[in-house]
Symmetry: C2
Subunit: 225 residues, 2 copies
DNA sequence: ACAAAAGTGTTTTCCATACACCCATGT
DNA sequence: ACATGGGTGTATGGAAAACACTTTTGT
């Protein structure tokens, strides 16, 4: 009855020049030596699941909680998903701004941000977990303000639109997006500042608002065509 | 590292005369003797999480998989959520048609369908799990055809509308609901049959269609007013 | 002056609502 | 005939898509 190990694995997503990227680590030891895997680790004996996820996030990125977004994704517990024994993993999804900070000085020496598309054959059942994390992120942009988690503390409407376009992989009309984003109650809070030294007219800066859901939602273009 | 027990708990929802109900069991043994709790049990050493949930569902209701709907809800693992030791539970959400079959002959002798509203002080952290299950169900009716899981194999549009009204707790316009439900592609498949012996004009019978998501969604009345 | 990007206005189209109305059955 | 619930048609208001246009900066 008590023979289970419980782990936490993280699908950490951010947006970089290459598009939507996930943080992956290259495994050194068996099982799956040399393969890319999601970062993660075992839950400690007196640690809550959420606390273990926050700890892993900090170990991998140096981020203090409060930046970005962290939520539980799902649990995976096939009896033979880990050849070492019976390991149930609780996966978490993290949405993060592009970190100028390096990923170093930790046990994540072999970590790298890699585009989520065109990735296959991760260790364990991590392909499936990564795919479900990406799909969760895509869906959640529609009806929550989580796209702001990919941005820094202050951002422009155009930056926010770029987040949507990258995650959804589809272009959006800048004018209609602007109107919709700025008119949806609680989505954005103007800081009063503007950008400087960029080409074109300066853009107003915003922080994320206090809404937890977007109503009405920002629906992505019809997936069925 | 291997000192965890893993359990599966079920939020089983159905619609009865009293409204939206969950199956609860009254605990006989400590901890929490005499308190209502979600049905559940430990995952077996060589059993997948989903398989454990299917097994529990069958033990409690006698249902074979395929009826209704079963999905993972989330995992809960606070170090002291169970006084007996370190137990991580994986909660599942089941949506079921109203079962004429009794809930008997099993270890669920003290099980009962109880309205989800006005319930507090379940054992363990089950209040929270139940609340999250109900909210998941409410949200999923919007953009998936899962309302059909509450109905029998064949049902009328009015029965389906009653499901929405019960789960959302709000009245819907019968005419507009009818048009929307029958025109949303893949939601419903007409069987050709009709009801008989009821008051009023006979209603056409439908089965659930093959769509997995509803596009566009059936949005519930604005929660913000 | 021109290019570039931000932001606004306007038109059209679509969809949700509201509700009048007809249909098919039981009593 | 009438009540009851199933199902269709239609007017209207509001939001989304499409796009012309103005604003404000850098070069």
């Amino acid at each position: 009855m008590d023979g289970f190990a419980v782990a936490v694995d993280l699908v950490m997503l951010t947006i970089r020049d290459e598009g939507l990227c996930a943080l992956l680590v290259r495994r050194g030891l068996p099982p799956y030596p040399g393969r890319w895997a999601l970062p993660g680790g075992f839950v400690r004996p007196d640690e809550d699941l959420d606390a273990a996820a926050v700890r892993e996030l900090r170990e991998e990125t140096g981020m203090d909680a409060g930046t970005g977004h962290l939520e539980q994704l799902g649990s995976y517990g096939h009896p033979r998903r880990d050849p070492r024994g019976r390991v149930v993993t609780v996966a978490y999804l993290a949405l993060l701004p592009d970190l100028p900070a390096p990923v170093a000085g930790t046990d994540a020496a072999h970590a790298a941000w890699r585009p989520v598309d065109g990735h296959r054959r991760l260790a364990f059942d991590h392909d499936r977990i990564l795919a479900e994390g990406v799909e969760r992120a895509r869906a959640k942009l529609e009806y929550t303000p989580l796209a702001t988690a990919f941005c820094g503390p202050e951002f422009t409407v155009a930056e926010l639109r770029a987040v949507y376009e990258t995650v959804w992989g589809a272009p959006l009309d800048p004018r209609n997006f602007h109107r919709k984003a700025t008119s949806t109650d609680g989505f954005l809070a103007a800081t009063g500042g503007t950008t400087e030294g960029e080409r074109g007219r300066p853009a107003r800066l915003y922080r994320r608002g206090d809404a937890t859901v977007l109503y009405p939602p920002l629906l992505r273009p019809d997936p069925a065509g």
